[in-house]
């Protein structure tokens, strides 16, 4: 669907830390419903790209447009409100909060609460709290976490924590979802379920997904297009079968055999 307007358009994004050029001239276009992979060897700058897009780091130069609106230089919460949600590579749940509250908190950007309304408990306050509760439980059911709603998030098993991160990100009502290594630490069975889940999330929530993943089995299976990053520079872009045979990609990955993906 190349005629669609771009949901996320990134051009020439650069970021240096001191003398280290972490990301150079990064460009990317996501159209509605895309499911794109972002891969590369360790330290290639993939997570830095996510941090630039979500406002954790400020880009040195470049353009980032979310639905036509510039998001470069905005604080993270504004970018979240504009419709970009993410998960974290090293899980960052609100550990002491319950599973349910983790998701309820993320409904935050779509609420219209006021301090006076909260303290006085107006009709609107009750209605909104109920709506948030219903939305959060809906999401937990979809992610098979409903029976763990009252547990503290830090007590969940690893795979559940990864899924809760995705559920929490979806609760912000995003148009673009950035997933940072969702399969990390999962066993084979969980990885198979995760592929299904990501596909379902895309179709049911109509979100556009950008996925960082080291597991080539997952990436090659579910992504329609893949961008490969090495030393902060894009070295290849295209559909999975093309990427797998790209000599530059094979070179970047040399010495790192990944049997599942068939590269190297």
């Amino acid at each position: 669907m190349p005629s669609d307007p771009a949901i996320l358009e990134v051009k020439g994004l650069c970021k240096s830390f001191g003398g280290l050029k972490a990301v150079q001239d990064f460009s990317l276009t996501l159209r509605k419903g895309d499911l794109k992979g972002l891969i590369g060897p360790n330290g290639a700058g993939k997570t830095t790209v996510f941090n630039l897009l979500t406002g954790v780091y400020k880009a040195d130069s470049g353009v980032a447009l979310l639905q036509g609106r510039s998001i470069r230089g905005l604080r993270p919460f504004r970018i979240a409100a504009a419709g970009m949600a993410r998960t974290f590579q090293n899980i960052r749940l609100f550990g002491a909060l319950s599973v349910l509250d983790n998701v309820k908190l993320a409904c935050h950007v779509r609420t219209e609460h006021t301090m006076a309304g909260t303290i006085l408990r107006t009709r609107w306050h009750y209605g909104e709290e109920r709506a948030i509760d219903a939305r959060a439980r809906e999401l937990l059911t979809l992610f098979d976490l409903a029976d763990r709603a009252d547990e503290q998030a830090m007590n969940l098993p690893y795979g559940d924590q990864r899924r809760l991160e995705i559920a929490r990100a979806l609760a912000t009502g995003p148009t673009v979802l950035l997933l940072d290594e969702p399969a990390a630490g999962m066993n084979t069975q969980e990885k198979i379920e995760l592929r299904e889940l990501i596909r379902r999330v895309r179709s049911e929530f109509g979100v556009t997904i950008l996925l960082i993943e080291h597991d080539m089995g997952v990436v090659m299976d579910i992504c329609e297009r893949i961008t490969v990053l090495d030393y902060g520079v894009i070295i290849a872009e295209g559909p999975p079968d093309q990427i797998q045979n790209d000599p530059k990609v094979i070179e970047a990955y040399l010495g790192e055999p990944t049997p599942a993906g068939g590269i190297a």
């Binding site: 919460f77 960052r92 908190l105 609420t111 009252d150 912000t172």
Partner: protein, 467 residues
């Protein structure tokens, strides 16, 4: 999925239902406070040492307000404020100025004109519930809170924009600046004519050439290093527990809302909170301002309490630390934990002052435990956890009673041993107090309840499962 807005509109309760569930806790708080003032206090003054009990209950109330308000900052948002007493001082001095000079202006002398709701005296029967003096006092409470909240905003905004422990340093500095300013203030004015003649806002004077008859405006006459003396006493069980109840209610309502979740998310992980759309600066400042408001009100309550001399020394660093101890003991982020810890920390030194008097405290502790057990049982029954919890509560009560008995035995034994050696346990009360704090931190570092509340099901996993 339908939008959250439409769903919220659709799920709104009716006006009647919403008003009822919103208003009954407020009514309940006021009724309880009235009962405490007009029923419990007269009953207590009939008993030997009863007035002392009343005073301890009053101190507990003020400390609960302080601990619960501080827990909104240190507990909910995980920032570290070490100058809570400074906001108390702001509220206290603001309130004192309004009540003292207001009385001088209106009546010509600062004596209390308290109605039946605003007196701790046993032989004072004004015949009316509320007087003009009381109106002045209520104005002072609210103004004390508002001025403290404004200070909280000014102090909080620059430091809370940053991540890290800047707030601790800034609040510490604020406390010191305030102490010096108060100590530099002029003497309290005792002449009604002088007060009536003195300009309320003397700013213009500051720009004039110094004259021989220069007088400090009343807002700069706060008693200096000696403290603000001659304040009328209005603070009673009614006012203290109205404020305590409202503080608890506001803290609870905030915690159970989008605000509370945002506060706690900042504490748990600031980066993740921002990524989920939380404007961390805005929420940290909100928490800090609300916390400062209640500290200010508590300060105004404190200023007008019998037996208290309002001074900067009294509301210094030591007081801030006392409040922090209560919050840490209660569990960072637990409202009920902070309240219970505040009560315990207030009572413990009084009990230890003369441990042999434990016999006198025993009925009180017994009644309190039973009341807590019954209240916990009702709350849990309402929330659908039935059966065993009553036994769990009774077991908890029995444990408290057993501990008290054990403590008493220890006291008696130590008296036998101590008497010939001339050791009085009361002399070591602060030592025992400190030891019990250390013990608590070793045995239960997360505090009484951690981030949970006493009524949370998850706090009582065993009892809940059996039920």
């Amino acid at each position: 999925m339908s939008s959250l807005h439409d769903k919220a509109r659709q799920l709104r309760p009716g006006i009647g239902a919403a008003t009822l569930s919103s208003a009954w806790p407020v009514l309940g708080v006021v009724l309880l406070a009235v009962a405490l003032q007009l029923v419990i206090k007269p009953l207590l003054s009939g008993v030997a040492g009863g007035d002392f009990y009343s005073k301890v209950i009053l101190d507990i109330g003020i400390n609960v307000v302080l601990a619960v308000s501080l827990t909104m900052v240190n507990g909910f948002t995980g920032q570290f404020s070490i100058g809570h007493a400074a906001f108390m001082a702001v509220g206290g001095y603001t309130g004192a100025g309004i009540v003292y000079y207001g009385s001088m202006y209106a009546y010509g002398d600062p004596a209390a004109r308290a109605g039946a709701l605003s007196t701790m005296l046993t032989d004072h029967h004004p015949g009316v519930l509320f007087t003009g003096g009381d109106a002045l006092y209520v104005t002072a409470l609210v103004a004390g809170g508002l001025v403290a909240a404004a200070c909280g905003f000014v102090v909080g905004l620059p430091s809370l924009r940053l991540k890290g422990d800047y707030l601790a340093i800034v609040t510490l500095g604020f406390g010191e600046i305030l102490r010096v300013l108060i100590q530099q203030s002029s003497d309290v004015s005792y002449e009604a004519d002088e007060v009536r003649a003195a300009p309320l806002v003397g700013l213009a004077q500051l720009f004039e050439r110094p004259r021989a008859d220069w007088q400090a405006p009343v807002w700069a006459r706060l008693g200096g290093p000696l403290g603000f003396s001659g304040l009328p006493f209005y603070t009673s069980l009614f006012w203290v527990f109205t404020v305590t109840g409202l503080t608890l209610l506001v803290a609870y309502r905030l915690k159970q809302s989008t605000f509370g979740r945002a506060f706690l998310s900042i504490r748990e992980d600031e980066i993740a909170a921002e990524a989920m759309g939380v404007n961390t600066t805005r929420y940290k400042v909100w928490a800090f301002v609300i916390s400062a408001f209640f500290a200010g009100v508590a300060g105004a309550l404190f200023a007008h309490t019998t037996g208290v001399q309002l001074s900067a020394q009294e509301l210094g660093f030591q007081k801030s630390f006392d409040i922090i101890i209560m919050v840490v003991l209660g569990g960072m982020g637990s409202i009920s934990g902070a309240a219970i810890a505040a009560a315990a920390v207030t009572m413990l030194p009084e009990i230890l002052r003369d441990p042999t008097k434990l016999v006198q405290w025993f009925p009180g502790i017994l009644v309190l435990t039973l009341a807590c057990a019954i209240a916990a049982w009702i709350v849990r029954a309402v929330r659908g956890v039935t059966a065993k919890p009553l036994w769990a509560a009774a077991g908890g009560g029995a444990a408290v009673i057993a501990l008290t008995a054990l403590g008493y035995t220890a006291v008696v034994v130590s008296r036998w041993i101590g008497h010939p050696l001339d050791i009085k346990l009361g002399d070591y009360r602060m030592l025992i107090f400190a030891l019990s704090l250390i013990l608590m931190m070793i045995l239960r570092p997360q505090g009484l309840f951690g981030v949970r509340e006493i009524w949370d099901k998850a706090l009582w996993p065993k009892a809940g499962r059996k039920g």
